[in-house]
């Protein structure tokens, strides 16, 4: 079998394993939905009025229109966090040692869970969107915008998942994997997720403007509620591709650290 088809076949096999696990333990997927739903209720229902007042005329709709793209990005981070936990727990299982002794495409052991994580991200993101609609989210995206948003969302899911898989491999315990992934849930707070970066103090603003989540969130905002796109789209795609690549290389390196040869 040629190596690209081997890679595809083995990744598909590992994805099947991951999906079976997800189906037998649906709580993992459901808990990934819990954090974003909670944040959506909190930021829309509790802080929404005050925050909307601060936005002024920057956006036309309600605060939920502004905040939902940010919550979507946090959803992807939340799902990726559960993936880190899953991979960390899985690595302790004897079956991983078995996979290491088999003539398979080695990264498939990680690419399976990452692909599964992307699928869970899309499903959870869709659920958050639906919940947002119930709360009054009113997107003005056309079909092409939605398609682009879904594409970017899958790319974001892949980037965060490869990164958190590396976290999961790096951490010695599930608790450690959890703490490392927490950074992805905290970072959006210092971004354009909840308030425009222009309203922040100078030092914070510089960080918030240039950190990856802001461009990604602004791109979703532009696609879903029609704020100006500017250069955000390209920057967002570049960030996602970069994070995915770094996460992949790092994760595979960590996976191979106990073994002599990558091959």
């Amino acid at each position: 079998m040629t190596s690209p088809s081997l890679a595809l076949a083995d990744t598909t096999t590992m994805l099947r394993r991951d999906v079976r696990h997800a189906v037998r333990f649906p709580m993992v997927t459901i808990s990934g939905l819990l954090v974003p739903v909670l944040f959506l209720l909190l930021f829309d229902g509790v802080f929404g009025h005050a925050l909307r007042a601060g936005l002024g005329s920057a956006v036309s709709g309600g605060y939920i229109d502004y905040v939902l793209p940010g919550i979507l990005v946090m959803t992807a981070a939340s799902v990726a966090e559960s993936t880190a936990l899953g991979v960390n727990a899985d690595m302790g299982e004897g079956i991983i040692a078995r996979f290491r002794t088999m003539a398979i495409w080695r990264p498939s052991v990680l690419a399976g869970p990452v692909t599964g994580s992307v699928v869970r991200t899309l499903i959870t993101g869709a659920a958050v969107c639906l919940f947002g609609l119930v709360l009054g989210f009113s997107p003005n995206a056309d079909a092409l915008d939605w398609l682009a948003a879904i594409g970017l969302y899958a790319l974001l899911g892949m980037a965060l998942s490869w990164l958190t898989v590396a976290f999961g491999l790096l951490a010695k315990t599930p608790a450690g994997a959890n703490s490392l992934s927490l950074i992805l849930l905290v970072l959006p707070f210092v971004s354009s997720a909840f308030a425009p970066t222009a309203t922040m103090p100078a030092g914070v603003r510089a960080f918030a403007e240039y950190q990856p989540f802001s461009s990604i969130i602004d791109t979703f905002r532009s696609l879903l509620i029609g704020t100006p796109m500017g250069h955000h789209g390209l920057v967002a795609v570049a960030w996602c591709a970069g994070i995915a690549l770094v996460g992949f290389v790092w994760a595979v390196k960590l996976y191979n650290r106990d073994s002599p040869v990558v091959a």
Binding site: D10, F99, A103, S259, A263
Partner: protein, 332 residues
Amino acid sequence: MQNHIRQPTPRERVPRLAIDAVGLSKAFGNQAALTGLDLAVPEASVTALIGPNGSGKTTTVRILATLMAPDAGRATVFGHDVVAEPEAVRAAIGVTGQFSAVDKILTGRENLALMARLHHMPRAVAKERIARNLERFELAEAADRPVTTYSGGMRRRLDLAMTLMGEPRIVFLDEPTTGLDPRGRQVLWRIVRDLVADGVTILLTTQYLEEADRLADRVALIDRGALVAEGTPSELKKRAPGGRIRLHFAEDDALAAAVLEFNGAKLSEDGLSLELARDGSVAGIRQVLDRLERLGINVESLSAQPPDLDDVFFSLTGSRHEPSTASSSEVA
């Protein structure tokens, strides 16, 4: 003139080596696990790796299974270097380790199907092989239950069934029967014998010297990370001093008197015979009988037992083999 009688090549005269390891060394921090281990395993045979705890058995298996690189030395599996050609090695091997390498969330059948897919076998072959392995390992009934519901023995059987799905040319079994009940052990021994009959090479590590004795064609004894003795079980036993003389008594009084006379002798489980750590030479037997005669103790019968692997183990490593001592009652 052409030579019509072809000379056999060395390869045909000497059995091919499935494993050829020379000077393997491995240290973890400043803890040396292997200190120049040599190991040769002929094809289509069972070789047992025995040694005290921490002697390097598992490290050896891990290096040969491409899970770990040696610090020094080299090893080949069917001619493929474990460091330079891990993929070729992996294609030839199957590994069942000490810790169960099964997916607990999946069912038994799903675990086997997972292996079938990773070996990229056609669907029909996979189906046939899954059914055959479920049957062979007495798992057919539990096939569609998640592994979480399996007993320890069932998990171990599934583990080996998964290893065999790819029909490996060589199987590494790291303590395959530890924790198995006697029946589970029998099933495993039977399977190992079947595999060897089919031409598969087996390298097993075991804590049970009795197991090595019964199952292995060759035994490699390692201590402190190096090979100290290698040969067939009977070759090794010939090299060891020791052995036992067993005395059977008809009367309790005679037995009691003998217990007093022979300090340190071991009373058998049934309480009817006495075991002396003496070699079974004629002179040794005569000496024992003379002592009994002098004291007027009637001995009904006597049997001499040659040294067993435990004696070999003791004489070469200087330590008694704990698990084997514990199981010696069930052997006797």
